[in-house]
Symmetry: none
Subunit: 196 residues, 4 copies
DNA sequence: TATGAATGAGCATTCATTCAT
DNA sequence: GATGAATGAATGCTCATTCAT
């Protein structure tokens, strides 16, 4: 029991550190966030950081992993949400749930997108997103809604579009969820108004 | 004449410096490229850098401006390329010329995309691209090919998609131009294969 | 108590840094004393200097303030020393105490005099001295010993004379106090021997 | 003849360089005056400076020597001015002529006083002044007007007083000559009003 | 001789990391 | 474990000096 209490406190401090890092990095950039400042904002001493992370890099990685751990289940849930629905409503549902999940991680999204090129690929939220979209599209292909020859680039296009809109809304302060339907409409039918 | 020779040499050195900066930043990141290294790779001394740029920031800005100066005319040409063509072939032409122009600026594209969030907006290649795409889409709306209500997000979606694919090809080494038709197909008709 | 120990050490290091700075500046000049050398002589690393002073300028200011803090009380004491004595013996007393106080600050005096023109006026030892002498002379005027019309330039003359002699003794290594009576004699009666 | 023309031009450039140096050093300080700026103000290129002076130090020395060459004769003239007059009027005359001579060298005086400690002793204007005053006082001693035992410190006191007042007038912009009589009065009779 | 671009040693400053308390 | 002062390598920048033209 005593052990559990101690572990709880450890976890509390860890969370405080990561939150502080997230805030500062989101505000000033990855490089401009000095460890002393992160420590100060977390309410601990610099040395303490090294009791939780082996070095600066590990702390950053810890931040990415931590957020990914929170986001991944929601992302998976969004993907499997309408597994029994046909492609179109399923995509719509996915987009809504996805953006809703992202809404509460604006700070981290900023960081993740700005520093995508720095984190080694293989286990990032960006890759989770790409994987999810790919899965969705594969389902669409299986369903016959999507032409197989489009399947290679489509995931890139979809995630690219999503990111672009996220960046825009992060900047202008607009809500992410508001764009869900519009994005889906564009993605489904393309540029052409198609209309009747 | 003497004057011209000297100016030619000045320009040569300037180019060497910017090329060195581009290479190093593309390889190691904007922050990791130290001036000593840039100088060494350019074959000059540190102090020389300061004969061409007032400080590090000005050098970086110089790099962006230099590349933009090369790219912008090509980008504008791509946009006005098929001004008399109907929307669809015009978009196709644009995408081909755009990616062809980008092909020779791979290093800079990497830098520009990775550091988009750092450069003050208003005069970047990214903005040039966005402006071009927006112009194209406006034309499409006027032509009745594009539904007006899509016009707000469409430019973001299109540029986002283009960037995503560029990033991918930059990583896997693939040619940019190879994807032009596929991108256009996706953008035009959307995800749905729409069958024949 | 623990707190006190740490603070004592901090103070020790601070003193070591200022002493090192004083020595080096006195020997090589204000500008020639590099921070690395100051740090080395103080027995600390360069970075440590920045734990005590925000930058080089602050360190120099710290040195001036530190010495002024030591000297000012002595200077004030010298001025008020014979407040109830008539002007002449009071001046004599002042000069003796002043030079005695200065004797233990030879290094700093050199620095202060050599760089008088660099430090912003308002809170320097030089100004303290001038103020003190002015006060003394004002008293003399009130006492009727000094003609009011001399009161404007007299402080400048007196402090100028004192400085000149200090500089001389700093150079030839002579004791400052040895000149007290001679200075007073000259100041009181002027150049003219005044005969018997 | 050709040779003479060339030498005249050389001299012109030399003067321009020294004037530029004087101006910049007086305004910004000895250290802050960079050679590039001196060259620019003199209307020549940096490299040209090295055709006239072996290095920065030599240029500074050149400046001091140049001004000394102009000032020394005036100073000597001031000293010998009233060689046949009794001490008192002779001192008065000296002070007037001295300050008048200094009036046209305000810029250089600022430099000379601020950097007295940097120039090696033996051939400075300061030393010329000290020598002159010493000579004057020696004459006074011989004349019986000055007590021999005061003769050691008196020159220091007198020059120190003069410097202090010069510094003051350099700062407040006041004319130097205006203080001549007051200084002499103080020096002659000392602090004491001497009353009637 | 005049020019001014090139040079590089030298300096102030930052910050991740260590470690004695 | 927590603390925060100490460390010193690394970086951007300056400027006296050189030298090809």
């Amino acid at each position: 029991m005593r052990r559990t209490v101690r572990e709880t406190m450890r976890e509390t401090v860890r969370v405080a550190i990561l939150d502080a890092a997230e805030e500062l990095i989101a505000k000033h950039g990855l490089h401009a966030a000095a460890l002393v400042q992160i420590a100060k904002r977390a309410g601990v001493a610099v040395g303490t950081l090294y009791n939780y992370f082996t070095d600066r890099d590990a702390l950053i990685r810890g931040l990415f992993e931590s957020r990914r751990t929170t986001l991944r289940p929601k992302l998976l849930a969004a993907i499997h949400a309408g597994a029994d629905l046909p492609f179109e409503p399923r995509l719509r549902l996915f987009m809504h749930e996805l953006l809703a999940a992202f809404e509460s991680h604006r700070g981290f999204l900023k960081i993740a997108i700005e520093n995508e090129h720095l984190v080694p690929p293989g286990s990032t939220t960006a890759q989770d997103l790409l994987a999810g979209v790919t899965a969705l599209i594969t389902a669409g292909v299986r369903e016959g809604v999507i032409a197989a020859d489009k399947a290679e680039l489509l995931p890139l296009v979809v995630t690219g579009a999503i990111k672009a809109i996220i960046v825009q809304r992060l900047q202008d302060g607009g809500e992410l969820t508001g764009d869900a339907d519009a994005i889906v409409a564009i993605l489904l039918d393309g540029i052409r108004s198609a209309a009747p």
